[in-house]
Subunit: 386 residues, 2 copies
């Protein structure tokens, strides 16, 4: 099958960007990706923008039109949404557009402006990723859902509170090495344990923050991409889903959609999970990273706590996870997250990751979750076309 290459990436600084509106974030990341690729905006055939909450948080829908307007191009341009996996489904639509023969070069964006609303509104808006009728309406928050998952997992697999905290400690350490990250401060296990309780057992430092940010990619079909210097190749992509509501699942301690999506992506890439050198997973809460590395098959079921203690998931460890700082410390601007994960994989595979560079990074994987595992996208990328 014909391969598709990533020929340019761009991202804004992630953080509380009071001076930047939604349009500014989208413009900056788009233009950075175009500049990185060294193409003209006139070469772009189609645009896909992943975003979840712009209608709620900025009163602005119709981001497809905005994305095209910014570049002054008249090409098909739409917004796609799958809650926190919005960025990744935008990427998948970009890949599909090229496979369909309707586009040679596609711009894919993810963006979210979150800090213009009060926390209560942000929390309510984000709960739209779950099941409003069964969960949100009855008072559940997203933190509450993941707290129940955490409690069940800790009970079943004897994960200690300290082991769980180590996810955030590691991700904050990584973020200090990533210039675009929301947070640049290291934290300790004690700090995680002693920060405010958000939804027991999760504390403030177990939770990803409310962040503004945008990220963009330029995709090109094989014939075009191979003319560029060090394109990164999309080797496989899988999407799977599950019930919107948590109570309808058979188990609280695993997310089957992760396993299904990973199987589909790895099968398409024709490789095993053991061939992955660098992984970005969806750590919206610390417990989510614990489950992700097990559901992906990176570590045996129930071993994640021990792996954290051994430090194997640091960027210089045997199984590097979230070298950018993850959602926890790089920040989680919802629509941008899936694209920022790919941005990090591209940086690592190009050897441009600076102080957090992973040695011999040839194949990377991204894992992006919508809701509590209702939509999961897994993508695999490589330096070689495969």
């Amino acid at each position: 099958m014909e391969k598709i290459g990533i020929i340019g990436v761009g991202a804004t600084k992630f953080g509380e960007l009071w001076k930047h509106g939604l349009r500014d974030l989208l413009a900056e990341s788009q233009l950075k990706a175009i500049e990185d690729a060294g193409i003209s905006e006139r070469q772009i055939d189609m645009i896909f923008t992943g975003n979840m909450c712009s209608s709620d948080f900025s009163g602005q829908s119709h981001l497809g039109s905005m994305a095209a307007e910014i570049l002054n191009v008249n090409v098909p341009s739409i917004k796609v949404e799958a809650a926190c996996a919005s960025g990744s489904v935008a990427l998948r639509q970009g890949l599909q557009a090229i496979k369909s023969g309707e586009a040679d070069i596609v711009l894919v964006n993810g963006v979210e402006k979150m800090t213009d609303v009060q926390t209560r509104q942000a929390t309510t808006g984000l709960m739209g990723a779950g099941d409003e009728e069964w969960e949100g309406f009855n008072g559940l928050t997203f933190c509450g859902l993941y707290a129940m998952i955490a409690r069940a997992y800790m009970h079943k697999y004897k994960l200690t509170r300290e082991q769980l905290a180590m996810v955030s400690v590691k991700n904050h350490k990584h973020a200090t090495l990533n210039p675009i990250a929301h947070f640049h401060n290291e934290i300790t296990v004690d700090q995680v344990l002693n920060s405010s309780i958000i939804a027991d057992p999760l504390t403030l430092l177990d939770c990803s923050p409310i962040t503004d940010g945008g990220a963009s990619l330029i995709l090109a079909k094989e014939e075009i991409a191979k003319k560029f210097e060090s394109p990164i190749w999309a080797l496989g992509s899988g999407q799977a889903n599950d019930t919107l509501s948590l109570h309808a699942r058979k188990s609280l301690t695993e997310i089957p959609a992760t396993t299904h999506a990973a199987q589909r992506a790895l099968m398409q890439a024709k490789i095993g999970i053991d061939k992955i050198d660098v992984t970005e997973v969806h750590d919206c809460f610390s417990i989510a990273e614990v489950m992700a590395i097990e559901d992906l098959g990176l570590v045996p079921r129930g071993d994640a706590g021990k792996i954290m203690e051994e430090g194997l998931t640091y960027f210089d460890g045997k199984i590097p996870v979230n070298s950018c700082g993850g959602l926890k410390a790089c920040g989680h601007p919802i629509g941008a997250t899936g694209i920022k994960q790919v941005w990090e994989i591209v940086k690592q595979l190009r050897g441009e990751a600076g102080k957090r560079q992973i040695h011999n990074a040839n194949i990377g994987l991204t894992h992006n979750v919508g809701g509590t595992g209702s939509t999961v996208v897994v993508n695999v990328f490589g330096r070689e076309r495969g």
Copy 2:
């Protein structure tokens, strides 16, 4: 090029459906389309759902997951949005998925639950289709934007207030012949002129209503579709865009994106606009239908008023437009509208349109607008594969 066929359609009743929530609407239209096609939900490879405001109006995002959950299928399923053109861009993604080779059969939905919120919230939410920073923030409503367009057009082309009212009169007449329509009452020119002023010169009866509804289609690749009884073929599809804000346009009295999208769709279909037997246009306001038939090239520029007076756009006239009742009288559940337009074309081309059946309907066209013409999608369908 390989053609794609529509093998099933379904739609809910349109109206103020107090007893039906978002999930009910989505479930009903999906199941009706599946039943109409006579397939099993297990045969569906991918799902695309067009929706604009579920996050704002129902606190529920992540409709892709909901659509798949309803059918208990584990396939890629996402929401797409382009304001009031959301349904049509969902259709375009469905076509693209089949062209890419990644899907053989695709379910495409459009849905909107609008009547659970107060009018003020609905109006504000809908304004997200325009430019929030330049228009909405400064107090403009969508009715206000189209009122300025109407004023400019009436001035330039000497369109009378009575001629403008005839659009609504005709569409209400059509709706009385359509069982699913929101309104089943005929209205007169005097009633339009004497109804409450919403944004001068537009009165209440110039404006499409706040409506609940859902519509669905089943698409199949040629090899599969031709085994079904009377599939309707997608002959061409075009999407074009323009600035989000109205003030940035060169003219208020035409929508160039309509012309561009139509050119793209007709070129793909290899036919001229004179070959179209039945047309559904985006009459969110009466003036929008006036401009649409000119921008599409169905009538000469500036002639629309005269054409209305002559009654040529009635379903039994020479240029039948909006035989379903249009957005004005069939109703305008935002995300559903683009799919409902195709539902009507399929009904007409199959000869199943009952009392509103257009004689010898072989080729149909849909025209769906996002914002004030910031995104326009035009699709062409035929009884023959072309």
